[in-house]
């Protein structure tokens, strides 16, 4: 047994040494855990910001001006008035404006007379998400404008509003009250980076031995397949955990001020578990490919669906139900639940035990499968 441990230790040391001798690779890994997460976390906001709006005001009345004034920053960016409808189309074609609003003549008069009137909005929907978002905001602004005008016309003021039946919306956004995008984006990117490296690094380390032929040396040594493969996983997992710590303490906490509510120790345990599970998948890839070109292609083939179907970028609820059930097979699905749960929501084991169990079971299964494949090849 002592010999067993010693072999494991020596092999792990060998892997770490080999990793430390590729400075370019080390720099790239460091880049992933720092700059890459910073870049992904900063600057990108999926919210409606500065949607450029041009207005063709054919009424030029007090009412029309008030309506236009309500399209405010930061959601909208008012670019100024237009003189003709053709100008609006030209601006949309050139991508200079995203929205062109047309206020009809006699807008104010119709309003005062209580006649229904219509404001036209032309929306550039090349980007559908923002197109619909902008339309929804605009519809809300116009509706509120109309309602307030109507109440004013009826002579109902603020004080009387208290004596009217209405539902008052008191909402609170938990975990991220101000909807700070970097909190979400940086954690999401950290998970993506961990997934990618956990797939790639052990697979690469295993295939490199194959490519260079050094695997034969290992195969004739008294080492078991487990002793050959597992130290690679341990070494890479150590590197990844170190990287995660760097990312957390150098980027997420000081730069983005992500409020870590849960236990960091639990997070690291879960991350280690996850790394092992994904490494098993990487080892499986290593057994079916002969060189690194093939490994990298297969890694992409595995990585992309995994990222996409696990809710890293898109909400899992929006998926077709068949896919939603398939997601259970992806370790990332469990890890995302756990990662956000621990870091942002402050959930502990009491709430999350089922996800931890799912991840552990899946990880052991995948890992055994990877080893089994390898043993069949070289045993």
């Amino acid at each position: 047994m002592r010999l067993w441990w010693r072999r494991m230790r020596v092999m792990t040391a060998k892997e770490l040494l080999q990793l430390s001798r590729d400075p370019v690779l080390l720099i790239i890994i460091a880049w992933f855990f720092t700059a890459d997460i910073y870049i992904a976390g900063s600057g990108i906001s999926m919210d409606l910001r500065h949607a450029s709006l041009a207005v063709l005001d054919q009424d030029r009345s007090e009412a029309s001006r008030e309506l236009v004034r309500r399209f405010r920053a930061p959601y909208f960016h008012f670019q100024g008035g237009l003189d003709s409808p053709r100008e609006g189309i030209a601006r949309l074609d050139a991508g200079e404006s995203m929205l062109v609003m047309e206020i009809p003549p006699r807008f104010e008069r119709d309003l005062q007379a209580g006649w229904p009137t219509e404001v036209q909005l032309q929306v550039d929907t090349t980007n559908t998400v923002l197109g619909t978002l902008a339309t929804a905001y605009a519809a809300r602004i116009v509706a509120r404008f109309g309602e307030e005008r109507a109440l004013r016309a009826l002579g109902i003021d603020r004080a009387q509003l208290a004596a009217m039946p209405r539902i008052v919306d008191r909402h609170r956004v938990w975990y991220n009250p101000n909807q700070i995008d970097p909190w979400f984006m940086s954690i999401s990117e950290l998970m993506t980076v961990i997934t990618m490296l956990a797939l790639m690094l052990p697979a690469a380390a295993a295939v490199r031995e194959k490519e260079r032929g050094t695997i034969e040396q290992l195969a004739v040594s008294p080492l078991t397949p487990f002793q050959i493969l597992f130290p690679k996983v341990i070494a890479m997992a150590l590197a990844i955990l170190l990287g995660t710590a760097v990312a957390l303490f150098l980027i997420l906490l000081p730069v983005f001020h992500v409020p870590v509510k849960g236990s960091l120790a639990l997070f690291f345990v879960v991350t280690a578990l996850y790394t092992l599970a994904v490494s098993g998948l990487g080892l499986f890839i290593a057994t079916i490919s002969r060189n690194l070109g093939q490994v990298s292609m297969l890694v992409i083939v595995v990585l992309l669906p995994m990222l996409l179907l696990s809710g890293a970028w898109t909400p899992p609820e929006a998926m077709p139900s068949a896919l939603r059930h398939a997601m259970v097979l992806s370790p990332l699905y469990w890890y995302i639940d756990l990662g956000y749960g621990i870091l942002l929501k402050g959930a502990g084991l009491i709430v999350l035990w089922d996800s931890v169990l799912g991840l552990a079971a899946l990880g052991i299964l995948i890992f055994l499968f990877g080893i089994w494949r390898f043993r069949r090849q070289f045993g």
Binding site: D22, W115, R166, N176
Partner: protein, 384 residues
């Protein structure tokens, strides 16, 4: 520069690609897969938001109010819970994204013409989703309030139902969607993904092609031969550019046939512009291959320099105009942004040479720059 030598190297490379079956299939399968998976999966529609309710009133009015949520396709009713505190673990475990708390005497207050407060707890984990949820919530409340107000006016001021409805909502917003009338997000994302795939796959192929020789040592054969570095690089990269050209056609077919995106522009222009883009991104792969010595490093570095810029800073998800100043600068620094303008211009807007020559020129300049740096930095006499 002797063309015969270039041809010989290109032929050798082509044979090598063909012989590595897995690599060859992957060179086509990976782009297809990225396109399909992202095209179908990258849905940013926020729908079926799971929500739970604490109903302290349990009246007809409160049930009708909940029905407004569960009846819409945006929300998915999970169930009732007893106490307010029960919502917290559900939110923490991501089983629900929204919790509603309807106070006692909900119905009685509304009947008695008094306002009533409804509490909503929104999961803010994914800010975009939280924002959208908030929007839906406000829209549902606004509609409920309009009906309540109409009802109120009918009772108090004696207006008819239709008159009351008109008074409450005097202005309507008539929206007209341009370029993507059906708001098919698949049209935009599907065509836009051509930009992403062609940004990621050519550099991968070229970088791996060159670094493989470096790692296995076969590059010394080239160093020892009469082949000049220009001939080597050109010959080496030609097959990969060729593969990528085939991919352009394949991806174009997927975008138009499978995702049903309309192609309104000039096909010849689009193909030429794509070719310029592929040459440009292959140049990125060339630079990567010069910087690194191992294939792992090549793969990872290519990921770094292509995927994130193409995904986040191209305008695919967020228009460049809405980005912060730093992010906008990054967007203008990388080629994807320019190609996306060409893609969407050609597909959805039907623009051609006259409107889109600027981005094409930028891409051509970018390609020339990358290739000249690559040529100058590639040495037949390595320092080590």
């Amino acid at each position: 520069m002797r063309l015969a030598r270039v041809r010989a190297i290109a032929w050798k490379e082509w044979r090598e690609i063909l012989r590595d079956r897995l690599f060859f299939t992957m060179a086509f399968v990976v782009p297809l897969l990225i396109m399909l998976v992202l095209g179908y999966g990258l849905s940013l529609d926020v729908e079926n938001i799971p929500f739970a309710v604490v109903d302290h009133d349990r009246s007809e009015a409160s049930r009708a109010y909940i029905q407004r949520f569960s009846g819409s396709r945006y929300f998915d009713f999970v169930g009732y819970v007893e106490r307010d505190a029960d919502l917290q673990p559900l939110l923490a475990d991501s089983r629900i994204r929204l919790g509603l708390v309807i106070p006692a005497r909900f119905e009685r207050r509304l009947r008695g013409d008094r306002p009533v407060e409804v509490q909503a707890l929104i999961d803010g984990m994914f800010p975009f989703r939280a924002q959208t949820t908030k929007g839906y919530l406000e829209a549902i409340d606004a509609e409920a309030n309009r009906e309540l107000l109409g009802d109120f006016l009918k009772r108090r001021k004696g207006l008819t139902v239709s008159r009351a409805a008109r008074v409450v909502a005097p202005v309507r917003l008539a929206q007209r969607y341009l370029y993507n009338q059906a708001i098919e997000s698949r049209w935009s994302i599907g065509s836009g993904l051509m930009m992403l795939v062609l940004m990621v796959s050519p550099p991968f192929l070229t970088a791996l092609g060159v670094v493989r020789e470096k790692e296995s040592g076969s590059i010394y054969n080239i160093f020892a031969s009469t082949v000049t570095r220009g001939e080597f690089i050109l010959g080496k990269l030609l097959p990969y550019v060729g593969v990528s050209c085939l991919n352009i056609l394949l991806l174009w077919l997927i975008a138009t046939q499978l995702f049903g995106a309309p192609f309104k522009g000039d096909p010849l222009f689009f193909f030429l512009a794509s070719l310029v883009y592929v040459v440009c991104t292959a140049g990125i792969g060339l630079l990567v291959s010069i910087l690194v010595t191992t294939q792992v490093a090549a793969v990872l570095l290519t990921m770094v320099v292509t995927f994130i810029p193409a995904m986040l800073y191209s305008g695919l998800l967020v228009p460049v105009e809405s980005m912060s100043a730093d992010a906008r600068m990054q967007a203008y620094l990388f080629p994807p942004r320019y190609f996306l303008e060409i893609v969407w211009g050609s597909f959805l807007k039907g623009l051609g040479w006259t409107d889109l020559w600027v981005p094409v020129a930028v891409l051509a300049g970018y390609a020339a720059l990358l290739w000249s740096i690559g040529l100058l930095a590639f040495h037949k006499r390595p320092r080590r």
